[in-house]
Assembly symmetry: C2
Homo-oligomer: 337 residues x 2
Amino acid sequence: MTNSRPTIRDVARQAGVSHQTVSRVINGNEGVLPTTRALVEAAIEQMGYRPNAIARSMARGQTRTLACISQNMTDYTFASVIEGAEVEARQHDYFMLSSSASDPDSFRALVDELVGHRRVDGLIVINPYSDERFEYIPKNFPLVFVGASAHEKNICSVSLDDEKVAYEATHHLISLGHTSIALVTGPMEEDCSQDRTEGYRRALNEAKIEFDETMVIEGDWSATSGQSALLSFIEQGRVPTAVFAQNDRMAMGVLRAARDANIKVPSQLAVIGVDDMPLSSYFDPPLTTMRQDIPRIGQEATRMLLDIIKKKTTDVRDLKLSAQLVIRQSTSEKGGD
Amino acid sequence: MTNSRPTIRDVARQAGVSHQTVSRVINGNEGVLPTTRALVEAAIEQMGYRPNAIARSMARGQTRTLACISQNMTDYTFASVIEGAEVEARQHDYFMLSSSASDPDSFRALVDELVGHRRVDGLIVINPYSDERFEYIPKNFPLVFVGASAHEKNICSVSLDDEKVAYEATHHLISLGHTSIALVTGPMEEDCSQDRTEGYRRALNEAKIEFDETMVIEGDWSATSGQSALLSFIEQGRVPTAVFAQNDRMAMGVLRAARDANIKVPSQLAVIGVDDMPLSSYFDPPLTTMRQDIPRIGQEATRMLLDIIKKKTTDVRDLKLSAQLVIRQSTSEKGGD
DNA sequence: ATGAAAGCGCTAACAA
DNA sequence: TTGTTAGCGCTTTCAT
C-alpha cells in the first residue's frame, strides 16, 4: 500500500481543478464558485484529505502554535494555568502545547527548541523567576509571563495580586484577634514570595503589630517545607498562634506538624493558605485559604499573547487578579464546608 | 531592522561554501573537512543561526516530535506520566509536547490537529478508555496507550498491573483481620477500575470472604466521590471495617467522611488507596497506599513509541508495572511516616 | 570532499 | 472566478 497521504494536488486532480483552488477552499477563502467548492469538498471527503500543518507553517511563515512552559506539570497551579490557556487558544484556532523543564539548562534547551527552532509563534512562561531561567528567555519574541511581572519593562504579564492577597490573608488572621502570626514563604528568589511577604508586612503595620523577622521562615512550596517550618518553631519553644502559609501545600504541612505535636487547630493555632486546591477542603481541619481563579490566569495570558502576535496592541500590560477568602475550620471552629 | 533570521544559505554565503555543506555540518554529517567545518561553525556562531525545525520536518517528512495527551493536566497521575515521558524523549533527541482534551469532541479535534495535520510522529494516549474517545484514535499510526491495555490487539501499552495491585491492597486489609471490606472504584467504563475490582474479588475469594456487590460503590476518582461513598454506607447504617479506595484522592474523601462522622481511623475503619501522591503522607491519618512509579510509566511508553517509530520492533507489548505497599496510619496505629 | 538540482506541501503573488 | 509561477528553509539525490 502507498502509505503517503493525499496532498493538495491529488485533491485538485481528483476534483478537476488547480491545487490553488483547493487551497482556497480549505482556507475558507472567498471567490470560489459554490459548484466548484462542492466539487472540491467532495474530493477532500472522498480521499480523506487533511491539510499538512507543517507545510502550512512553512509557507505562511507562522505556525499558529503557542507554548506554555513551566518547571513541572505536577504542580496543581501550573497545570491549571495550562488548562485555561489551552481552552482559550483553541477558541482562537491556535494550538497550545505545553512542556516543562525543571532546571535552567533544560529550560534553555526547551526555549531553543520552541523559539530558536521556530516551532511556535508565542510563549507563555510560568514563574519566569524561579531560578536563573529568565536569562534564557528571548526578549524580542511574543511573550507573556505568568506568576510575576517582568523586570524588564516591556513584557506583558498576568499574575495574582500577591501583595493584596497576602494582605487580606494576614488581615483575616488579625481580625480573629491574632497578634503572633508566623509566615511561611515560597522561595524568596521568586517575586511572588516577596510580594506576599510585603502584603503580610503591610497588614501587620496597619494593625500596629511589630514585624518580627524571626517569625518568617522560607519554604519551597512543598508540604514538607511547611511541616519543617512549624517544627522549627516548636523546637525553639515559641509557637505562634497563627500561621500564614504562602500556598496551600505548605499550609498542609503546617497542619500535619501541628497534629503530630498535639497542637489543636484552630483553637491553639490558626492556619491560612493560598490557592484553594481541590484537596484543601478535605484536610483536617479543612483549610481556610485565598481562592484564586487559576484557569482564568491562563486564559488572560493567552489573550494577551494573541493580541501581541496579531499586533492588536503595543502597550505593555500587567494584569493582576484578585483572590477570594474562603473560611474553613483551620481558622474558625464554625468555618464553612 | 530586518527581522528575518539567517537561513542556511546566509550562513553558506558568509562561510564561502555551499548551503549543502552547512546542512552537513548542522547534521553532524561525515565527510566534511575539519577546516571547512570550522569555517561553517564560526559563521553559524557569528550569525546566531539556528536551524528551522519546521523546514526540517518538511524536508524530512517527519517531525521528530511526539505528543502525550490526556483528559486534563491537573490530575497528579497524568502530569507525572507526562514528566517521565518528556525526560525520556529529550534523551532521544525528540521533542515531547503535551496537551489535554476533557471531552470526546475536543479530543477528536486534538487528535486531528496532531495526527491528521501531521504535527507529530507518534502519540501516547493516557487513559484511552475513559469515555468514547478511543473511537477517535487512529489505528494505523505509531501509538502507545498508558493506563490500559488496548482492546484491539495490535497496540502497545504500559500500565499498572491493576489486578495485582488491587489484590495486594485487599490482601493487606485481610491480613489485618478485616472481613467487611468496602470497595470504592473509579468509573467502571475504565478498564483500570474493572481490573482493580477483579483483584479485590480474587483476594476476597482466596480468603473465603464472600463477595458482596452492595459493598462496592462506583466513584469518579475525585475526593468528593470517596466522601459520598462512605456517607452512603453510613446512611445505610452498615459501615464496613475497612475500605479499599481505588485511588488516593477517593481515599482522602473517605477519611474526611469518617472524620465528620466521628469514625476513628484506623481503629474503627481502615483505609487504603492507590498512587501515593505527594500529599498522601500529610493526611490525617497519613494514608496507607500502593505506591506506583508513575514517571517510569511515561518513560517506558516513550521508549516503546520510539521503538515503533524506528521500526526496531514489530511485536506488540503490554508492559505491566507493579506497585509497592506503603503502610501508614490509616491502616495501622504504628504505620510508618 | 563539495556543489548543483530537485522537491517536501503548502500559500502568495500575479495573470488570465 | 480560476490557474500559473515562485518560493518558504531545509534534505536528498546525484554530479563533480
